[in-house]
């Protein structure tokens, strides 16, 4: 019988915990974290009064007209933006995913340059999604003028960056064995993606894409900026003016759209199951 070994991870875990706590403390201080403020009677009363203000929702014909028009526009912009973002994201994600790297196996020839390339793509994607939408919008307004085109492009660029990143992360997290077998059998990366990763990851990819579409519907910054209006902008306005009734109506529309997105997502996932 061997003497019982000690867990070799124990020390690392304990020190990790300590470091995490040490880091968390200043962060909590900086963000002035104080949940007790939530439950102060005065604050609750103010909030309650404000929330009562949400009822009844605004249903005047004029406002509903605005909402319907904004909804249509928003849906169109979000759909077009996501479609372009998808076009941008797919090749970038394939290029960025380490699991799909042929040179990873072994490691084989050209490992270093490929890794450098991946780092490059990573940086590019970081730039796409890291530069605020507003800046992209300003840029495209210069080229295309005010109007949906600039908004769609700004959305496409930032969301393209976000989709790329998340696609890559999803692909990276799914089971590698199937791809490894394919890549070691001489297939190309695109084909390995289709035969080895997608069967497992497709559902999650689709569900994230639909979620992004839903975010695009809510996005207000870009659309308002380029004069495309949209639901998000109406919402911002209603909230800034603390107009509860209007906000409630728009919130209901948001909720409906979220439910719609959920239904679409569920349907697509079922198709892929």
């Amino acid at each position: 019988m061997t003497a019982h070994p000690r867990d070799p991870q124990a020390l690392r875990r304990a020190s990790g915990l300590v470091v995490a706590l040490l880091l968390l403390w200043p962060l909590l201080r900086l963000s002035q974290f104080s949940p007790s403020a939530l439950f102060e009677a005065g604050n609750l009363k103010v909030m309650g009064r404000f929330l009562r203000n949400f009822l009844p929702p605004e249903v005047s014909a004029e406002f509903l007209g605005y909402v319907v028009k904004a909804t249509l526009e928003t849906l169109a912009i979000a759909t077009a933006g996501i479609a372009l973002a998808f076009v941008i994201a797919t090749p970038l994600a394939v290029a960025m995913t380490n699991s799909l790297s042929i040179s990873r196996i072994g490691p084989g020839p050209a490992r270093k340059p490929r890794m450098a390339l991946r780092v490059g793509v990573r940086a590019l994607v970081l730039l796409l999604r890291g530069v605020p939408e507003l800046v992209w919008a300003l840029l495209f307004v210069r080229a295309l003028g005010l109007g949906p085109a600039a908004g769609v492009l700004a959305l496409a660029i930032t969301y393209g960056g976000m989709l790329t990143k998340v696609y890559a992360e999803i692909l990276e997290s799914s089971d590698r064995r199937a791809v490894d077998a394919l890549l070691a059998g001489g297939s190309g990366r695109l084909v390995a993606l289709l035969y080895g990763l997608l069967p497992n990851a497709a559902q999650e990819l689709v569900s994230y894409t639909v979620y992004r579409w839903e975010c695009a519907i809510r996005a207000s910054v870009v659309m308002g900026f380029v004069g495309a209006g949209g639901l998000g902008q109406l919402m911002d306005q209603a909230m800034k003016l603390l107009n509860g009734g209007e906000a409630a109506t728009i919130l209901l529309v948001f909720l409906l759209l979220v439910l719609l997105a959920d239904a679409i997502s569920a349907r697509l996932r079922k198709l892929l199951a």
């Binding site: 919008a137 300003l138 003028g145 005010l146 900026f225 004069g227 209006g229 109406l234 003016l241």
Partner: protein, 261 residues
């Protein structure tokens, strides 16, 4: 048919701006024979930027945004007309707090401006605050930017900020429309007058068209029942011509406040 693209700084809700512009747009269509298209945006910078790059032809600008557009185009944009009232515009400091009686009481309180690009909601109040010895970046507890004049009122009325500042014309409108509870919110200080809003056309716009537009504005007459509505919506009784030099005071104030580098 050629199109005249028009926009306005979003110092009020874009829907409101659109409503205000509709009859004026029809009038200008008739006067110029062009199709007039109004593009509402939600960001001051977008208007300045599009005017500077010729993506729109004419815009309703604040004094400060005009100065910005002038700087960005090296003086190419041309202000053509302004409302009579804009020649002596003021901003009003408001509060819902009984203990605030003068600007000096603001130290250590929370305060909200309108948009950072706003003349009457930010630049000039800041300028006069500085003159009164209050540095907003140091002396206030928190500074928020509500984004629009009517939002500032909402902020103050809901108690989210101890005090705020907005342009006099919007305040009067809100009071008139009973959109503000004057029992709670009151004006406790007013700025000295300054030049503000104007209609500016982009550089390179056909001078003949510019002339036509200027004249169209100047011809507006409240005694004409059709044009009365336009004037009422623009909240003025008369448009007057304006010149770039009118805004050198604003430019100086902006430089002094560090808003133009």
């Amino acid at each position: 048919q050629p199109v005249l693209k028009v926009s306005a700084i979003p110092d009020e809700a874009p829907t409101e701006l659109q409503r205000k512009f509709a009859p004026l747009g029809k009038y200008l269509e008739k006067e110029t024979g062009m199709k007039v298209e109004f593009v509402p945006v939600t960001d001051y910078a977008a208007v300045v930027e599009s005017l500077a790059t010729g993506k729109i032809d004419m815009a309703w600008l604040g004094g400060f945004t005009y100065v910005q557009s002038k700087i960005r185009t090296n003086g190419a944009t041309i202000p053509i007309v302004q409302r009579q009232e804009d020649a002596a515009f003021t901003s009003k400091f408001i509060t819902a707090d009984k203990t605030i009686k003068s600007l000096a009481d603001l130290k250590g309180r929370t305060f909200t401006f309108g948009s950072p690009s706003s003349t009457s909601g930010h630049l000039m109040p800041r300028h006069f605050l500085l003159q009164a010895g209050i540095d907003p970046d140091k002396d206030f507890k928190t500074v928020a930017y509500s984004g629009a004049h009517d939002a500032t009122v909402a902020f103050v009325q809901a108690g989210r900020a101890d005090a705020g500042v907005l342009n006099a014309s919007v305040w009067d409108k809100l009071v008139e429309q009973k959109k503000v509870d004057t029992d709670k919110v009151r004006v406790f200080a007013v700025t000295p007058p300054y030049y503000d809003y104007n209609w500016t056309v982009r550089g390179g716009l056909d001078p003949a068209l510019r002339k036509k537009l200027t004249e169209a504005f100047l011809r507006l007459d409240p005694s004409n029942p059709e044009q009365r509505e336009i004037m009422a919506l623009q909240r003025t009784s008369k448009f007057i011509t304006t010149r770039p030099e009118n805004y050198s005071g604003i430019e100086a104030a902006a430089r002094g406040a560090g808003l133009i580098k």
